[in-house]
């Protein structure tokens, strides 16, 4: 009983030593205890001009940087809202991708304003709600994204990419009419 306690005390001390100075931790661990040999690398966060976070460390002579992403691969950003979100219900009829003159005018003003705020180029991404088939929604979101891109090009905006996500990247779960309306959208990313 006493020996057991003694072993435990050693293990605790070893654990404490490992926590304080990993390099000094003994290679042979007590049974049931894992010793991880490693060096402590605590990063800080660097925020890029888009407002997105990157892990960064300076090791003396080397520097390391890697993106801070969510498990699904999206960057973690502090930019708040996306530069422009076009609510589909205000610009498109159901299942259609045509934008009327008033809509094109509004979009043209948006692109010009963004350009005067320093946007060099734009990426357009179309999205739908979850009704109808996945394939149909991809095509609908693509046609709508191209229509928004065209409105931008008509006022001289440089469109560097047009993307179509259909129903695959909803903003909110498609659980109510209100949520579905939020998911029907075309996103505009402004690149400075």
């Amino acid at each position: 009983m006493l020996t057991y306690k003694f072993d435990k005390a050693i293990a605790l001390a070893a654990a404490a030593a490992a926590a304080l100075s990993i390099a000094a931790a003994p290679a042979s661990a007590q049974s049931g205890q894992r010793t991880i040999k490693g060096e402590r690398y605590v990063p800080t966060i660097w925020v890029d001009p888009d407002g997105c976070e990157h892990w960064v460390m300076d090791d003396g002579a080397e520097g390391f940087m890697t993106p801070h992403v969510t498990p699904d691969g999206k960057p973690v950003c502090r930019r708040g809202n996306i530069c422009g979100v076009v609510p589909a219900d205000q610009f498109f009829a159901t299942d259609k991708h045509h934008i009327n003159a008033a809509g094109r005018q509004r979009l043209g003003e948006f692109f010009q304003q963004a350009k005067s705020n320093g946007a060099r180029a734009f990426v357009i991404a179309g999205h739908t709600d979850s009704r109808a088939s996945d394939e149909y929604n991809i095509r609908l979101s693509e046609r709508r994204a191209h229509a928004v891109a065209q409105a931008g090009r008509s006022v001289g905006a440089r469109i560097s990419d047009v993307r179509a996500y259909g129903e695959r990247d909803p903003r909110v779960p498609n659980t109510s009419a209100g949520n579905m309306a939020q998911n029907r959208r075309v996103e505009i990313y402004c690149l400075r």
Binding site: I45, D58, A61, E187
Partner: protein, 101 residues
């Protein structure tokens, strides 16, 4: 004289950094390039790779950092209208080093 002493001290500190974890890796460690500010304050430029995709690039004195630029959906920013294999912007602002390049 004092500066030289500081350099030697910092060099000594760098030499033992392999066996201690006392170093703050969130700061520029540099002796020699005049900067030791927090890494969150670095200024980036844009480098365009041979395929036309944009990367943030930072020259922080002795270190260099680069990372992919992404849109909120996680995809890279490509088809850049900036020239390929060229870095633009204030990416060397962290350095007081005379960079040969």
């Amino acid at each position: 004289m004092l500066m030289r002493k500081t350099l030697v001290l910092l060099a000594a500190a760098a030499a033992v950094s392999g066996c201690t974890d006392a170093f703050d890796k969130t700061r520029d460690q540099h002796a020699g390039d005049g900067s030791s500010s927090h890494l969150s304050n670095m200024t980036a430029g844009i480098w365009v790779d041979p395929q036309g995709c944009e990367h943030w690039i930072i020259d922080d004195g002795l270190e260099g950092y680069a990372d992919l630029r992404r849109t909120p959906d996680g995809k890279p920013v490509c088809n850049s209208n900036l020239p390929r294999n060229v870095a633009t912007g204030p990416f060397k602002s962290g350095s007081t080093f005379a960079d040969p390049l």
